[in-house]
Symmetry: D2
Subunit: 409 residues, 4 copies
C-alpha cells in the first residue's frame, strides 16, 4: 500500500472504527490520529479518549461542535426549506461537511497525509466525506477501509477482532441494534434489517427519539418561535443559542410524536435505499420557517426559492456543501432572509405540527387590501380587467389563429 | 354597456349569483343562460333549476362533472405532486379550468356572446375563469359584475334584493357562515372574517369536512391504494372510478382528522391572503403518490419532476391550465408515469398520514444491491473510489490553484 | 382628472415629449418638471434645456448618467451573460430602471406627486418605467399620456401642435426616420414601418451604428480585453472607466460590422413584435465574457448560471430590475465573479467576433491534466471506470428490471 | 482477464482501433466483431472490411447510419435549440448514443458478451458509449483498452505494431494530423497539440470543413429553409431527407466560412479542455430554428424551452441520451413543435448567418396588434394600466411597508 505516514480517522469510539484503527496500523504501518466530535449524537464523546489511548493513539482530538453544526450548517440549510425527494430533511447529509472540514483542519495541524472514515462503499457518506476533503485539501489521500478490506461480514470482523485482541464488548454490553444508525443534533436514522423490504412497517421499538403519535400526550403543546434573519433565536420569549434551539425542539417534538419519516430514497451512488428518520426539531423548523416566510417574503422571491430548493437539497445530499454552486445558491437564499423576522406559534399534537399563528414587524400581509370588507379604495378591482386581458393576450391571439387547447395546441 | 345579447353565467343557485342574474338582465338587457355543475361541492345542484326558472331563465344547464373533474384535472395534477408554496393543494384552482371549459362549450351551443361569473375583483378565480375562457374562445366577452357594480357591501346587496324582489332567504334559512367558502370534490376552503388576522387561530366550528385530530378515533385506519400509471384505480382491493376514489379518501381522511391546512398565500393579483383548507383525500393522495414513485421512478426523472413542480403548481394556481406551457410540463410529467404502478399502504391516525408500506411489480428497489449484508458481488464497492475521484476532480483542481471554500471561493 | 400638482416627465427634448409637456399642462393643470438624461443615446442633451424653458418649465434636470448606467446596470447584467429569447441583448430594457430611479429621486426632491413618460400603451417600456417607479415610491401617481389621449395618429398629433403653437420642426429639420427608435450606450433599436412584416429584410440605410459586414474593412481588428471580477476594466492595456469601455467597443465593433440583430420577440404585454438592434459593444462583451468564464469558472457554477440566465433576462426584459427576485439572482451571479479575471483576445472581422485567446491567473485550465500526452500521473484513467459504473447504476438496474429505453421506458 | 468470449468493437478502420483488435485477441483471447458506421465522417467505410478481414475478423458489420443519425438524433436535439455552455453544438456527443445502440444490437445478434471502443480514459466519449450500453443491456461487459493497456505514448503503440506485424501505414500514407479529430455529419472536432494552450489561436490549416471568413466569397448566399414540426424538410423549395438537408447546409455553410467555434469546455470527467469545432450546417440550423420558433411558438412555451435547454444539453453532453430524464425533456420539447412550420430565409456571408425573413401559416405574429399605426381597436391600451398596477402590487405593498430596493430590500 502507498507510503502514508499519518492518517486522521473519524473515530466514533465504537467497535467498527476501533477495528479500523488497528487495520490502519497493520496495513499502512502509519500513525493514526483520532478525531471524535460531539455533534449531538447523544452519546458521551469523552470515553473515546481512553479507547483511543488503549489502541496506542498519541494524537487524540475530541471536539464539541454542536453550536457550529447548528449555526453554520443546519440553520443555513433550513433557510432554504430544504427537503430531499419531498420527504427527507437531510439529517445525515448536513453533518458530513463539518466532519470533513475538521478532518482536514486536523490533518493540517498534525501534518497528516491522509484521512480515513468508517463509511461503506455503498453509501452516500463516503462521497460526502471525500468530496469535502478533496475540496478543502486537494492533495489529501483518503483511506476508506470498507472499500478495501475483506471484512465484509460480521463474522469476519469478529474473527479479526479476536485475532488482534480488540475487545468486542466495546459498546459496553448494550444490546446491538439490528439497524445501522446515525445520529446528530438534527436527527437519528435507521437502515438495514427488516427495513430492507419496503413493504414492511418498522417495529415500534426501533424508534429512539420520539414516542409514537398514539403514545403522545392527549393535550397539545404550544410554542412560540422567534425568527431573526430566517433563523430561530428564541423560544417562548427566551433567547437561545442555535444548538439549544434545536435541542429544545427535539425534546418537545419527540415528546409529541413529531418527526418520524419512513422513506425509500435514491442514493447518489445509484441505488434506492430504505431509511427511517426521526427529526423532531427539524420537522417543526421546516413548517415554522415556511410560516414566517409566508407573511414576510415577497411572492416571487419565495417562488424562486421553491424552484431552486430541490437542486440545493440534492447538492447537500450528494456531498457538495463545499462547492461553488452550493455557495452560489446560498448567496441567493440568504439575500432574501433579512426580512424573515417575527414570531410563529405552533401547536404540537400527536405527530401533528400545526401553525397556529404568525406575526411580524416585517409582514407584507396587508389586511386593508386583503379584506373581503370594503377596502376604502386600497385596491381598485377594475385593474384586474386589464391585468387579465393582457395576460390572456398571447392565448387569445393563438386561439384566434385557430389553435385549440382542447386539441392539445 | 356593450351590446351583449346572451350571456352564460356560472350559477350556484345561491344568493349572490341569483342577484347577478337579475343585475345582468337589468344592466345588459340580455338573455341569461345558467350553468350549474356538480363538481362535488356537497350540495344538491338540481334545486338550482327551479331557482333559475323563477328568475325567468329559459336555458338552464345542470351537469354532473364529478368524474371528469377528478379524471382529467385532479389526477393529472397529482401526478406532478403539485403543491403551491409548500402547503396548498390547489383545490380551488384546479376546478376553474373545467368550469371555464363548460362555460365556453355552452356559449358555443347557445350562441351566447359572453360569459359571466361571481368571482370578485381581488381574487384568483376571476383570472382562472377568464384566462380559460379567452384561451378557448378568443372573441368571448366577459362580464364580471363584482368588478363593475356598486353592490360592494352586504347592505347594498340586501337593498338591491329588496328593491328587485329577490328572495333573500335563498339559502334556505341556513345560518350564514361568516367565511367565504368554496368547495368541490378535492377540498373546501375558508377565507375572511377572523382569518384576516394571520395571528389568530381558526375556531374549531369553522371546519366542515374533517374532525379535529383531537376528536379523531383512537384507533388508526389502514388503506391500501392501488396505482396504475400514476393514478389510483382501487382501494383495499376494490376497483373504483376516479371520483369514487376521491370521495372515499375524503370520507376516511376527514374521519381521521386528516387534511387541514391554514396558510397565508400569495395571490396572482399581488396580495397576500389567509386561507384555510380541508383536503382530506388530496393529502392522502399526495403522500401516497410520492411513496409509489419512490420505488418505481428513476432518480433523475423524480428530481426533474421536483424541480419543475413549483412552476407547474404556479401555472395552475394562476389560471394557466389551458396554456401551451402547462401542456408541455404535463407531457414531461405524464411521460414518467407509465411505470408508476403498485400498491401503497397508508395508516391514518389523528391527522397523520403515515406510509406503512409500498410494493410494485415495477419497483426499482433492488434488495440484493441495497443490502447491508453480503451482496454476492451485485455491487463493486471499489467503483465508488473512481466515482468520487472524478466527481471531485473540478474541486481538487480549483483547490490546487489556491481557491479555498472556507474563504467562499 | 385627478388633482396632481406636479409631475416629473422623462423628457427627450423631441417633438413627442414636448407635446406631452403641453398636454400635461392643459389637461392636468399641473406643474411639469423635465428630466433629460444622457445615457449615451448619441444626441446632445443640453439643448433640451432651452426647449423646456420655451415650454415654460421652471425645474429642469439634465444629467449625465453614462457611467452609472454602464457600471451599475449594463455590467451587472453582462455578468449573467443575459440574452432574451436567445437573441436580444436587452439594450432598451436595461436603461429603464435607471430612468425610473432618477424620476423618483427627482419627484422626491421636487415634491412632485406624479411621474410621466412618453412610452406607448402597447410596449414594454411603460411597464418598465412604472414597475420601477412603484417599487421605489409606492404612492407615486403615473400619467401615461399615450394610454389616455386621443392623439393616436401622426395627423392628430400635428393638428394638436398647430393648435397649441408647438413648433413641429423641433427635431431640427432632420429627415424623420420611418422607424421608431431608441438608443443608449448599449444599443440602438428600430421598430415599425416595413419591419412590421417579419418576412421583409431591413433596408441597409436603416442601420446607424454599424457598417454592414460587406462594407467592413478587409483586415481584422484585434482587441485585448482585461477582466476584473467579471467586468472589463481595460482594453489593449489601457485602464478605462465602464462607459469608456462600452463607447470604445461600440466604435470598433460598429466599424467592423459587428452587433446587428433582427428578431421577432415576445413582449411582456402579450404580443409578438419585430425589432432590429445594433449592439456592437454588447455583442463583443457577451462573447468575451463567456470566454473568460470558460477558463476561470467552475463547471457547475457555470451551468447553474446558464440555467438561471433565461429567468434573469426575462426579469430585466419585463421591468423587474427593482424586485427582490432580480436581486436574489444577482447575488448568486455576483458570488461567482470574484475569480473572473484575466484577458480575452478577440478578433473582429466583417460581423464576426472570434475569440482568439484567453488567459488568466485564475485559470482552472490545467494543461497537465488535459493533455493528450503523458500526464505523469496527474489523472488516473482507471478512475473513469468506477465513475461510469456508478453513474450507470440506476440505468442498469432499470434495464435489468425489464425497462427498455428503445421502447421509451 | 475475465472470461469474455466475444466482443463487438467500434472499429474505424484506422490504426488505433486496428491495434485494439489485435490487443483484444491477444489479451482476452476472444473473438472480435467489428462494427464500422458511416455517420457522415467523410471517409469511406467499405475499406474497413478488408482491413478487418486482414486482422482475421469473421463477423464484420458496416452500416450506413446517416439518415437515422440526423432524423432520430440530430433533429430532435435541434428542436431544443441545444447548446452546451453557450457555444458547443454537441456534434460529437449526439453521435455516441447511436453508436452505443448499434453496438448493443450487434452484441445481441452475435451473442457477444462485451463491447469495446477506442475512447480514452480522460474524455467524455467513454462515458457516452458506456452509459448507453449499460442502459440498453445491463449485463454487457465493457472493455476500454485505453484505460487498461500501457500503450500510452505513440512510441509504445508503434513498438506494439512492429512486434505484432500490424501495418503502420494503415492510414494510407496521409500526413498524420497533429490534432485528435472526430467527425460526423454534424461536425468535425480538433483537440490537442497547440490547442492545449488556450491563449494560442489555431492555425488556419487545421480547419478542414470550412474556408475562413476572409477566404469566403464576397457575395452572400441566400437559402430558404422549410420547417415542418420543428425539422427542416426542404431547402429552396426542394424536399430533402434529413441527412441531405444537413449535407447541403454543411457544404453551403462551409463555403461561406460559417460554423467555426474555438472554446474551452468543461468535461463530465471533471477537467477543462480546449476544443475547436466546425459545424456549418448546425450553426445555420440553430439560428434558423430560433427564427421559425420566434413567429410560431407561444411566449411561455419558448421561455420554458430556454430554461430547460441547458439541462437538456448537459444530459446529451454527459451521455444520458438513453435516460428517462432526457426522454422526459424530449416529450416536453416535442409537445411544442407541432406548430413550428414555415419558411426561414437566411443569408450566409463570410462567417455570418443572418436571418433575412421568416413566414408561416402558423405565425402568431399579428400585424394588426403589433402595429405602430392605428390598430382599429385590436388592442386596448387602457388594459395596460391594470396590468401594470397589479403586477406592481406586491412591490408597492413592500415599499409602503418601508422596504427600499435601493438598500437591497
Amino acid at each position: 500500500m502507498s507510503d502514508i505516514k499519518k492518517v486522521v480517522l473519524a473515530y466514533s469510539g465504537g467497535l467498527d472504527t476501533s477495528v479500523i484503527v488497528r487495520w490502519l496500523q497493520d496495513n499502512y504501518g502509519c500513525e493514526v490520529v483520532t478525531f471524535t466530535a460531539d455533534i449531538g449524537q447523544g452519546e458521551e464523546v469523552e470515553p473515546a479518549r481512553a479507547k483511543a489511548e488503549a489502541l496506542g493513539i498519541k494524537e487524540i482530538y475530541i471536539d464539541d461542535l454542536r453550536e457550529e453544526f447548528v449555526r453554520d450548517f443546519v440553520f443555513p440549510m433550513f433557510r432554504a426549506n430544504a427537503i430531499y425527494e419531498g420527504e427527507y430533511l437531510l439529517g445525515t447529509s448536513i453533518a458530513r461537511p463539518l466532519i470533513a472540514k475538521r478532518l482536514i483542519e486536523i490533518a493540517n495541524e498534525t501534518n497528516a497525509d491522509a484521512i480515513s472514515h468508517g463509511a461503506t462503499g455503498k453509501g452516500n457518506d463516503q462521497v460526502r466525506f471525500e468530496l469535502g476533503a478533496y475540496a478543502l485539501k486537494p492533495g489529501i489521500q483518503v483511506i476508506a477501509p470498507w472499500r478495501e478490506w475483506d471484512l465484509t461480514s460480521r463474522e469476519s470482523l469478529m474473527a479479526y477482532c479476536k485475532e488482534r485482541d480488540i475487545p468486542v464488548d466495546f459498546d459496553g454490553g448494550k444490546k446491538k441494534s439490528p439497524y445501522s444508525m446515525d445520529a446528530n443534533l438534527l436527527h437519528i436514522s435507521y437502515e438495514g434489517d427488516i427495513l430492507e423490504d419496503p413493504w414492511s412497517e418498522p417495529e415500534e421499538d426501533m424508534w429512539r427519539w420520539s414516542v409514537s403519535p398514539e403514545a403522545a400526550p392527549d393535550e397539545p403543546t404550544f410554542l412560540e418561535l422567534e425568527y431573526r434573519n430566517g433563523d430561530i433565536v428564541g423560544i417562548d420569549g427566551e433567547a437561545m443559542s442555535a444548538a439549544t434551539v434545536l435541542e429544545t425542539l427535539n425534546k418537545v417534538g419527540g415528546a409529541n410524536g413529531v418527526g418520524r419519516a419512513d422513506i425509500v430514497e435514491n442514493r447518489y451512488v445509484g441505488m434506492k435505499a430504505r431509511g427511517c428518520y426521526e427529526t423532531p426539531g427539524g420537522t417543526i423548523m421546516l413548517r415554522a420557517h415556511r410560516a414566517i416566510e409566508s407573511i414576510t417574503l415577497d411572492r416571487e422571491a419565495a417562488h424562486l426559492k421553491d424552484e431552486l430548493m430541490p437542486r440545493y437539497a440534492s447538492l447537500i445530499y450528494n456531498g457538495y456543501w463545499w462547492s461553488p454552486e452550493r455557495r452560489m445558491l446560498q448567496a441567493a437564499i440568504d439575500d432574501t432572509q433579512g426580512v424573515v423576522n417575527g414570531v410563529v406559534r405552533v401547536k404540537l399534537y400527536k405527530g401533528n405540527v400545526i401553525v397556529a399563528g404568525r406575526k411580524s414587524q416585517d409582514s407584507l400581509f396587508d389586511e386593508s387590501i386583503a379584506t373581503f370588507e370594503d377596502d376604502a379604495g386600497a385596491y381598485d378591482q377594475k385593474d384586474a380587467e386589464g391585468f387579465i386581458k393582457l395576460n390572456a393576450l398571447r392565448l387569445r391571439i393563438a386561439a384566434s389563429k385557430g389553435r385549440n387547447p382542447l386539441d392539445g395546441q
